[in-house]
Amino acid sequence: MQHDITSSAAPGGDKPLPKFIRRSLVALSINDPRLTEKASACEADAIVLQFDKLSGSDWQQELRARMPAAIHSAARAGAEVFVRIARNAAIAELDAAVFSGLTGIVLTGVSGSAEVRQVCDHLARIEERRGIARNCLEISIDVDNPAAVWHSLDIARASPRFGMLIVNEQALCVSLGMQTQPQLAFDPLEYIKSQLITVALAAGGQAVGMSYPLGLTGQQVEDATLKKAVRRARDTGFKGAMCPHVSWVAACNVGFRPSDDEAAYYRKVIEVFAEGLKRGMASVPLDGKMVDVPVDVRAKLYLQWANRAAARDAEKARARAASS
């Protein structure tokens, strides 16, 4: 799935909310012999490919040979495909790993905006060299160190390719000297998450993360617990989560969008408000609450969100059917 990241407007001129339907992201290794099988069975909105650089081998050559097929495999079930790139070896890794079919990259270890600009420029060269549509490849940031938090706004604004800030809680806790087991009654990353969500939106993208403590433990938990955790994450402002287990994917796909009940309510809001307008009223009652312009606007936005999520699910179902 490729689109020009410099034109993010939805049909009709409004900016969509959220910008991307990326509720569930799953990391898969291209070195995994079961990559194709796992990707086909996975219903994630996005797959982030990662690779090992085997010492003693020409890793670039090997990667160049394997990436096109790996991208194709990862996309079989309709997922958007990203590749994880380490900032400290970014140019070499980009040359070896970026091919047509990718939506973008997830950059790790970023500590400042200059690094993002360098990667952005190099992606332009790769796009030209490899016949990828210009300005299509996104840059998302794995927020895994204190400098990435502190400079998040500069980092997110460093390139028009910016897509997502992905909160890497485990890495952040380690680099901030926090304990990696959730022993506090409150989320020690609460304010950091608030900052990253705000920054991501301000820079025209969105934030990916999970609520405390699940975001830190990454545990497999009961459905009801997972559902509540996803709802808390959505209510905080996250638009999706990295899923450490495939078992998280379904809950994220359902939870990071307005529910069917919410969508039904928003339809009713829109209908009631439209009828009110016809009668010359700008504020009408519904179930004991007042519906006015902002409520109507929100209903339309959220309904559009629900519809886009449903369309994305249908798109993935078609891809799965076509590949089976």
Binding site: N145, P146, A147, V149, W150, C173, V174, S175, L176, G177, M178, Q179, T180, Q181, Q183, L184, F186, P188, L189, E190, Y191, I192
Partner: protein, 241 residues
């Protein structure tokens, strides 16, 4: 192993200061020239600080001197002496102020026969401006070894005195940890609750404040009274798992 968990404040004018350090064995003894010293005792404290540092030389603790903002030039001149590990400076206002202090310390080092550049700086943030510029302040001098959340007096600047949990404090702690870790400085602070902090904290409150701070990424805190040292040492020794 974190070797600077407890930063015990000892009024520099008190003759029993060295005995207190020997008794409670903090990781860091902070000889205070700031607000625990009454104005009339300031000059004597300043005059005696070098001798006190000398007496503590064999105590296995790192010795810092906390200086008063308004008299920092005289305080630094008196404090920078052989045996001192560093200076604690509260409420740095910005990068320029830290740079100026760095230069002044260098002057005192040269004058007092201390190896140039060896005196460290622990900065305690106490103002909105300080917290906002925390990262730049931490990087303002190579002497900076620690960045701390200062006295809760800052709440008077930022809002009314809180009656219950002061959630803004967690935001400021979070900001301090990020800025400090980003520049490889030691984050200092404890998750104090209003009404039970510093000199009035019970042992239980100290344990809770230190333990929560440890879990939030801090690795030490100031002990306003010696009795806090054992609890602080224990809580900040928790492993990172």
């Amino acid at each position: 192993m974190n070797s600077r968990r407890s930063w015990m404040i000892v009024p520099a004018h008190q003759a029993e200061a060295t005995a207190l350090v020997a008794e409670w064995k903090p990781d860091v003894a902070v000889l205070d020239l700031e607000y625990t010293v009454p104005p009339r005792a300031k000059e004597a404290a300043r005059a005696g600080v070098a001798e006190m540092v000398r007496k503590l030389a064999d105590s296995q603790v790192d010795v810092f001197v906390r200086i008063e903002r308004d008299t920092r030039w005289a305080d630094v001149t008196a404090a920078v002496t052989r045996g001192i590990a560093g200076i604690v400076f509260a409420n740095p206002d910005g990068v320029d102020e830290v740079s100026d202090l760095d230069e002044w310390i260098l002057k005192a080092e040269t004058q007092n026969g201390v190896e140039p550049g060896s005196t460290q700086l622990a900065l305690m943030l106490e103002s909105a401006k300080g917290f906002w510029d925390a990262a730049a302040i931490a990087a303002a001098s190579t002497r900076v070894c620690a960045l701390g959340v200062g006295r809760i007096d800052l709440t008077m600047q930022l809002g009314p005195v809180p009656q219950d949990e002061f959630r803004l404090f967690r935001f400021l702690m979070s900001r301090t940890v990020v800025a400090a870790r980003m520049h490889a400085k030691q984050p200092l602070g404890a998750h104090w609750r209003p009404g039970s902090r510093g000199g009035v904290a019970t042992t239980d409150a100290t344990v809770q404040a230190a333990r929560e701070a440890r879990r939030m990424g801090f690795s030490g805190c100031v002990c306003a009274k010696p009795e806090q040292v054992p609890a602080v040492n224990e809580c900040f020794s928790e492993s990172s798992v």
